[in-house]
Symmetry: C2
Subunit: 450 residues, 2 copies
């Protein structure tokens, strides 16, 4: 193709990484070559593929393209575009900086690196007048980066709330649908290839937190790093939590939530944690490995983006979209939008964020227990939205404090609070743990989307 006399010189692509996503990108660069050329205005071709091991089976990949010298590939003067799908901080950072440093455009799916050190990468791209695109870093194939960075850039985004980790969504689905405990559901996910052998990045919320940092940075024109994100994983979600959620007509989802506080000078709040979502909320229906992101803004109102959140094909689709865009920019001598962090808002600590809690307690089934629990909330300025008391003693009949005689055994209180500062809510729960009437705090979870 490159030797056809009627074609302009090709743009040459260095592909860093040849796993699930990389091999799909390599395949598409070959099978879609003529469409890509028509869309870009110049042919694109693979200059080389950096891999860790040369001797692995790679069906459909020309072995002559493979190299273990990633830096050598990036620094080749004939490379115009670099696609980084290795992941992790190093050597990805050094390779991307080297690529940008010599003016190559970079497409990356590396959420961890962007959330850790995006500012350095953006500065390098800006200085070289070249492009850094990263649609594949969040929510797989779902176009969310470009809508935030470009479509909504004339609007004022107030909330981004999403399910951005398919692994945890799969695990929570299993816990809901099959009554599995966390470990059991995790084992299923691992067996089916939805979770890695070391699942920490997913189940502890690190992956979602990196994505939340990227989304918040774009939405609020502010640098937000992974370490700014309040992060709670799903390892402590119990069968009791799931049962309580089900009883309330809710589901537990790991959500990434980016909001502006309503201080006079709004701060940015970014958090990742499991939350109870009402069954009627559109996010509640997002199952399995799917992702969905809600965006709320002053003029546009509420938008939702939905699609497959991971996998070779979907992630490669996002990478290829960016690749065509940066290639078109190169053909036109242009570059896309750079970092926009002018607002430089402060990040609010979780304690300052306004949330609401669901609390499920095992309490002594004695007269006055509801009063002392309610008093505890009131002392912290937290008002209650609903309280339900269920007997769990021998009779196991549903009782309310007023209507029925106490059995002397234990009863369950299920409480949903009104919105309050998170610090007040967690202090309340701490104090509840020390009340003599409270046998056990069975389940505590934030409620979102109500």
């Amino acid at each position: 193709m490159t030797d056809r006399p009627d074609s302009p010189a090709p743009l040459r692509v260095a592909l860093l990484g040849c796993g699930t996503v990389g091999s799909e990108v390599a395949r598409l660069l070959t099978t879609s070559a003529s469409d890509l050329e028509a869309r870009i205005g110049r042919p694109v071709e693979l200059a080389g593929i950096a891999v860790r091991r040369l001797n692995r089976e790679r069906p459909g990949i020309d072995p002559a393209l493979l190299t273990t010298d990633a830096m050598g590939l990036v620094l080749r003067p004939d490379v115009d575009l670099v696609v980084e799908v290795i992941g992790g901080l190093e050597p990805a950072r050094a390779l991307i900086l080297a690529a940008l440093g010599r003016g190559a455009a970079v497409v990356t799916a590396n959420k961890a690196l962007l959330a850790e050190d995006g500012a350095t990468l953006f500065a390098a791209a800006e200085e070289a007048g070249t492009d850094l695109y990263f649609e594949a870093s969040v929510a797989g194939a779902i176009p969310i980066i470009r809508p935030l960075r470009e479509s909504l850039v004339g609007d004022e985004i107030t909330t981004v709330m999403g399910i951005v980790n398919g692994t945890t969504n799969f695990i929570l689905d299993r816990m809901h649908n099959e009554g599995a405990g966390f470990s059991e559901a995790l084992a299923m996910a691992q067996e089916l290839g939805y979770a890695e052998a070391d699942p920490t990045a997913d189940v502890e919320g690190f992956d979602a937190a990196a994505k939340a940092a990227i989304l918040a940075s774009l939405a609020f024109h502010t640098r937000v790093r992974a370490e700014d994100v309040h992060r709670e994983g799903i390892t402590d979600v119990t069968r009791a939590d799931v049962a309580t959620a089900t009883a309330m007509g809710s589901v537990i989802k790991l959500v990434a939530i980016c909001t502006l506080t309503d201080d006079p000078e709004p701060r940015v709040s970014v958090r990742v944690h499991p939350a109870m979502i009402p069954g009627t909320h559109p996010l509640a229906a997002v199952g399995g490995a799917y992702n969905a992101v809600f965006v709320e803004s002053r003029s546009a109102g509420r938008l939702m983006f939905y699609g497959p959140g991971a996998g070779g094909g979907p992630t490669a689709s996002a990478v290829m979209g960016d690749l065509v865009t940066v290639a078109r920019n190169r053909v036109r001598g242009a570059s896309g939008p750079g970092e926009s962090s002018y607002a430089a808002r402060q990040v609010a600590p979780i304690g300052d964020v306004v949330t609401s809690y669901h609390v499920s307690l095992s309490v002594a089934d004695v007269t006055g227990v509801l009063a002392s629990v309610a008093h505890c909330f009131a002392e912290h300025g937290v008002s209650l939205q609903t309280v339900r008391q269920e007997g769990t003693g021998a009779g196991a009949a549903v009782t309310t404090a007023e209507a029925e005689e106490p059995t002397g055994g234990s009863a369950r209180l299920v409480i949903v609070t009104h919105a309050a500062r998170d610090a007040a809510l967690s202090a309340t729960v701490e104090q509840l743990r020390s009340l003599p009437e409270v046998h056990e705090v069975i389940s505590v979870m934030r409620v979102e989307g109500a």
Copy 2:
């Protein structure tokens, strides 16, 4: 703001039209001025607003900006960016061409003009090396143009299916939820401001067809004009259709469907018509003035975009996103993607498109009626998916042809076909009308999303 010595020279915006959308754009240009400057890298300011009448009340708009000489405004040498929200073919076309001709960038919400004569506009933008952006032309605030034009440009889109007209969606909702007939539901919509005094563009599907043409052009890299779109409105949707849909657990929606045929050399099919959508399909839940667009592609899989489809705020959000993008491009001396119509696929006539039908018939309740109806379908090569026979005579008991004695009155047959060429399906229905056993063809509708 423009006189501050530390600010670079402002980019100057000519706003054509000051109705619901235009006045909101004018307001945002003022109230968000400092954010816009930070995001673009230069201030933007209104150079003037072209209106039809000067003497109308326009709260918050500086009367000194108003002019009735739209062409004079567009041709002013200090105008960098032109926002066209007048709508309609002329004078919008002449104004946009004049703007592009002198190198100004254009942002437009004008679906009718783009679907009628987009090629001329794109050619003018390309020749001048300037931008033509049109996110607001389809589905209000929902980012759909940019995802199709950029995010998914490295992928192969196979289907775009959407609810892209809020007025008809509102009317159909009322027919479903309140048992209203079409005229009654239309009157409600007009009263509430969801439908115009002359509702033709909405209820006859012209608005949706223009949007479908734009979506198909982008998805399939092919020029598709409004006249290429097979169009059926909702004026013939009856209470009987709605009742039948409800009985089947479906809802009737006006859908815009863009697909590739599976010919060896795929053609483009673009159609707008009411269809029965199963209640379990995500599009079924899109109510009122909301819009939603499904996109299916080879690598990404199924994506959905959802949000408010019209209104001043949402449409202004889309316009402002484009405005910031073209302004950024101008600051960088760049321009965004132009028209991509290289694939130049043929447009398939509706008869060649593969669809499936729901048909509801009033038939003579005599032995053998099912056989002759089934024979009629078979003759046209159409196979049946489900057949339900309901007695509607005096007994009104549900009967099946084999299980019960005919009553000699009339019965109802409810048929859903397998997928077949639309021409075969419509020929079948024509022939059914002439069968002596068929008293009436009560309802005929395509079934989508099953």
